[in-house]
Symmetry: C2
Subunit: 301 residues, 2 copies
């Protein structure tokens, strides 16, 4: 199966050129090498492929038959090489990006929007899911994740942005419940839990002035795995919710939700783009990462 593929390519070249020396020039080897390849091939096949009369080459019947196949071999090899080059260098083929639905809608899509329209050879697949997904199984090129995240040894992370966590609630909720002036006050409040974080009902808060840390445990009666749901719950006044500022910016701007205890801060998250390999990435992946980085750099200014 592995036998003499090289010889076949040489043979095809020889037939194309009608001479050993012409072939040798094309292949960048000597006529000697060509001659040896052909001889070896003929010995291997147990048949004479071409009659050689110094000035003229002439295929035998077996040679003619074999040439068809040899041509197919080099054509296929050529095509494979071209295809790979295309997928490596051009913004073509498919690009699969995994995020949470919220990040996707709020940030990744906006970040990539213009880039995507500029490269319509690119078939982009957004896998928006809250479950952990296997990047290899799902053929994910880029996964957008929050730290701390499980990062395989074979993966590499690209920090995109520092993301603030904020504690928010609707103005109505704050009016109707006990006033919140220190972290301690939180323990009497209802925290809408988001299953995606490890300790849904524990808040670590740091005072911006003193740097003093406080851990508060809240009640978490209502839980969800979906940020949209959590937002809706918060807006309806069902409680406090802890959220990535990116996900809630719109509601803060409109006043639908307001920050609670702004003088205390929750631990930051880092938004990462995770890829499988650092080296030898197709251009579309590295370009996409660049676009994302640029977007989030401008965003945080």
């Amino acid at each position: 199966m592995l036998d003499n593929l090289r010889g076949m390519a040489v043979f095809a070249s020889v037939v194309n050129h009608g001479s050993f020396s012409g072939s040798a020039r094309e292949l960048g080897i000597t006529t000697s090498a060509v001659s040896q390849q052909i001889r070896s091939l003929e010995n291997d096949l147990g048949v004479v492929l071409l009659h050689r009369s110094t000035r003229k080459l002439s295929l035998t019947e077996a040679g003619a038959g074999f040439y068809e196949a040899a041509k197919d071999v080099v054509d296929a090899a050529e095509q494979g090489r071209m295809r790979v080059n295309q997928l490596r260098d051009e913004l073509a083929g498919s690009l699969r990006i995994a995020t949470t639905p919220e990040l996707s809608v709020n940030h990744i899509l906006p970040a990539l929007s213009t880039w995507l329209t500029a490269h319509d050879d690119l078939a982009v697949h957004f896998l928006a899911d809250n479950h952990y997904i296997d990047m290899i199984d799902e053929r994910v090129d880029i996964a957008i994740r929050m730290s701390p995240s499980i990062v395989d040894s074979k993966m590499s992370s690209h920090a995109l942005a520092e993301v603030k966590q904020v504690l928010v609630a609707s103005p109505e909720y704050l009016q109707q419940h006990d006033k919140i002036e220190t972290p301690k006050d939180l323990s009497k409040h209802e925290l809408i839990g988001i299953e995606l974080v490890k300790d849904p009902n524990v808040l670590e808060m740091v005072c911006r002035e003193s740097g003093k840390k406080t851990k508060v445990k809240c009640n978490t009666r209502i839980q969800t795995n979906n940020v949209f749901v959590a937002t809706a719950l918060a807006k309806s006044g069902h409680g406090l919710v802890r959220m990535i500022s990116l996900d809630i910016q719109k509601e803060l701007d409109s006043g639908e939700l307001v920050e609670v205890l702004p003088e205390y801060q929750l631990p930051d998250y880092v938004l990462y783009a995770v890829t499988l390999d650092r080296e030898q990435q197709p251009a579309k992946i590295t370009r996409c990462l660049e676009v994302l980085k640029e977007y989030f750099e401008n965003y945080s200014k």
Copy 2:
């Protein structure tokens, strides 16, 4: 163009088996070798072809594209190998035989007749021509020739039969002309010349009893390059004609022509089958030679 064809075959095998070790078993090499081939291929292409997670292999997009081509490569190679084997081992394809028209009609066709009908995958081409032909240019597999014949260094001869030359004439001619009792008497006779021999009008005769050689020069008014024409001329009583006994046997048997000076003999010819190479001949060629030899062995008994 010659790069990594081996690697492509290995890659195709790996993808087919879904594992390095499975591929290694098929290819009869170690997993180490497989791993190195794939790595070399990936480095060469500048792209990751498959993600490996110990238990599971998974193609990248580029890998999937490249696999299509790699499969084509091995398929084409396989097919070429099969085709060559077929043309080498089976009695199929074409077989080109060059003879003179006379030999063809009188002997080669009868000799091969049953063999040909037994192998109908064989497309036989008879090149019946009196001109010298280039075996390579005309793709002749077997040429039937008389000695002494121009034999290239690359050709090899296979003696088929000793062929007697006989001097014949029609009974009517002999009656109407001077009686022929010794070679000397021939000088007054008309010899129909056949251009195919070197000295058409010179006869070298050896007495069967004494072994004495005589050279006689005859008149040659009528010449032809065609044995059929010469035979017809002889039958019409236009003169003596010197011929290969094979070509004239029928007329001798029927009495249309009779031998002149049977106690003297002309130099023998040897009927040869000439092929281009002795080694690595397709089966159909060697088989055909065997059939011919057998035929002429039985014939001379």
